[in-house]
Amino acid sequence: MIKIAAAVTAVVIFLIVLIALIIGKSASQKKDGVQAGLYKIRSLYFYFLIAAIVGVLFITLKPGAMPYTSLQSGEPALVVNVTARTWSWDLSTNQIPENSLVEFDVQSEDVTHGFGIYSPEGKILAQTQVMPGYTNRLRYTFTKPGNYKIMCMELCGVSHHNMMYDLFVGQTSDLKTEASKKGETK
């Protein structure tokens, strides 16, 4: 998704710069009555834009693709209770079975934090805010084993940039039994 978003952005920026250069180059050559031609293109652009917006909204707003649990189907195989406080994480377990739907129920004891899951390669995979007074539920299925990290994604004070935690993802037989006992399995 990140790559698609970056590529689309790069293409659109290229087009914007190209159009700006064409318009800019033409500006110093005076010719009257040329605005009508531009306004004809505007009508076409208007219909194209509306169609593009409707199309992209249709593709991107599919309820199943949303990160919100109220729109998702299926029951999680494991629920991990997460408590955030300045500047540490407390997880009921950090031993996560691969290829299983896991739900992180995140709460804060003090200020708002951000619960961001990073892959072993250092790419952000999913996140939710951790707001005092609320339990935010984030579901994710880890498809590869490895050492994942939790990083804080919301400014929470002077040690915000040091607020991290380990998540181990593997086959059930590889996970530490003691730690996994703390997890609440549905």
Binding site: T9, S28, K30, T60, I124, E154, V158
Partner: protein, 480 residues
């Protein structure tokens, strides 16, 4: 000298005074930004409490400074059409100065570092910073809010007095044959901006009152989700209408250089009335990652963010293209800066639209991608519009070094935002005082190297800004 002439002289002097203040503050805040990037690039190492304090001052300061720069420019341009209160303008300037001093003391001396958005309840985190800094920030932002509210209400009053209810938002252009005097686009844009701004400033004031109550009685607590909605309704709108002020400058000044009129019509009226609706609900995109927020509001946030591109591009961008296209204009600093600012606005806007897609925001939220978006908006959009206004206002003649300064700003600015975007794509989180302890070498390297390269671009930008200032100050006497 008649009262009207006296009024004109006072507004001109106030515009000069406030504009120079804005220029000084802007430069200082850019230097703070440079310092942050140098530290993130591990060239020097700022203590984290100092980093977050200057980050807070940089954010709050830029949002406030550019808003004041924009509303000052708009007020001067509007004074051609309507009678604004000069007494109120003086009072507002005084309140703003006191507010700025308060913020500087709370951050640089008290090390208050809760970020520009003072996300509840972080300001009240025990032991994070002295208690006095919290009330100093609350009262300072309240003073700024009062000044902005009074200023916006005065603009609205002055416009309604002259253009009446069917004119101030351009509603009369909805009919096939609009009657009465013409309403300049600047007036419609200003009305839309100050209505949105005044309305949301009231919500911001409510939030600050609740902060004050909790400061007085620490046992009281408020709903964090409500507070977050309030702060972004206020903050997002203020930033957004700053951009609208910039567009008002372009609508008003560009025809002077192209020789083509840019008059109100039903398209402009429809577009800016639609913008008024979208600007008030688009802020929901700041809360996509707050899963406790009703899902419907997330959907509204994305739809509104997408739809806001329709009036922006169909009317404003095409209108501007029709201004430039084969107009025979001479590329002086002001029209060049305006053209480039529209390009920056479009690019920054598209980066924002990408991030306003919920399934994309899932990856980009609170990464440096977001930082890339609003720096493009501000630095390569609004600031260029503001400088175009200042050049036009002071009638600056030195065109040779002016263009060089503009190109330096462009190279510096696009370098800075590209580094933010690259880091965002590499999942580098924003608002990190240091990347050293991030447990991924790829993220540390990306964060530090992009910050270090951005520092060089920031230097180029600073030299460009100083050159612009040199030319402006040499023409300062033209308006004093």
């Amino acid at each position: 000298m008649t009262n009207v002439e006296k009024n004109k002289v006072t507004i001109t002097r106030l515009t000069s005074l406030i504009t120079v203040t804005v220029m000084v503050l802007f430069l200082v805040l850019v230097l703070l930004g440079f310092l942050m990037r140098v530290s993130q690039g591990a060239i020097i190492q700022l203590p984290p409490d100092f980093f977050y304090a200057i980050m807070t001052l940089h954010g709050l300061g830029m949002a406030g400074t550019l808003f004041v720069g924009g509303i000052t420019a708009i007020s001067f341009l509007l004074s051609k059409y309507v009678n604004l209160s000069t007494g109120l303008m003086k009072l507002n300037f005084g309140l703003i100065l006191v507010g700025v001093v308060g913020l500087v003391i709370a951050t640089l001396i008290g090390r208050f570092g809760a970020g520009w958005y003072v996300l509840y309840p972080l300001p009240f985190l025990e032991g994070a910073w002295p208690r006095w800094t919290v009330v100093t920030v609350i009262v300072s932002v309240m003073l700024l809010g009062v000044a902005w509210l009074l200023w916006q209400l005065d603009i609205l009053r002055a416009i309604v007095v002259r253009y009446k209810l069917n004119g101030f938002l351009g509603w009369k252009y909805f009919s096939e044959k609009p009657e009465g005097e013409e309403v300049p686009p600047l007036v419609i844009i200003s009305s839309v901006s100050v209505i949105a701004g005044a309305l949301t400033t009231v919500f911001g004031a409510l939030m600050l009152m609740l902060y004050l109550i909790q400061w007085i009685n620490p046992d009281m607590h408020f709903n964090a989700l409500l507070m977050k909605n309030l702060v972004f309704l206020f903050g997002h709108t203020i930033v957004n209408i700053t951009m609208y002020f910039g567009l008002g400058i372009v609508y008003e000044l560009l025809p002077n250089y192209t020789g083509r009129p840019w008059k109100s019509n039903k398209f402009i009226a429809y577009a800016w009335n639609a913008a008024l609706v979208f600007v008030l609900v688009a802020y929901f995109h700041h809360l996509y990652m707050d899963f406790a927020q009703p899902v419907a509001l997330h959907f509204i946030g994305q739809v509104a963010s997408y739809l806001s591109t329709v009036p922006a591009t169909v009317v404003t961008i095409f209108g501007a293209m029709a201004q430039f296209y084969k107009s025979g204009l001479k590329w002086k600093f002001a029209p060049l800066a305006m053209g480039l600012s529209l390009m920056g606005w479009l690019i920054g806007g598209f980066i924002a639209v990408v991030d306003s897609t919920i399934i994309v925001n899932n990856f980009f939220h609170n990464t440096l991608w977001v930082t890339s978006h609003f720096h493009t908006y501000y630095l390569l959009g609004f600031v260029l519009m503001q400088f175009a206004f200042i050049y036009d206002y002071f009638d600056v003649k030195s065109e040779g070094s002016s263009k060089l300064s503009l190109y330096m700003m462009l190279i510096g600015g696009y370098g800075i935002i590209t580094m933010f975007a690259v880091a965002g794509v590499n999942s580098v989180p924003r608002r990190y005082a240091s990347y050293v302890n991030i447990p991924f070498e790829s993220v540390v390297k990306s964060g530090q190297s992009t910050a270090a390269i951005a520092s060089i671009f920031a230097l180029v930008l600073i030299v460009g800004v100083l050159l612009v200032y040199k030319n402006i100050l040499s023409s300062f006497k033209n308006r004093w």
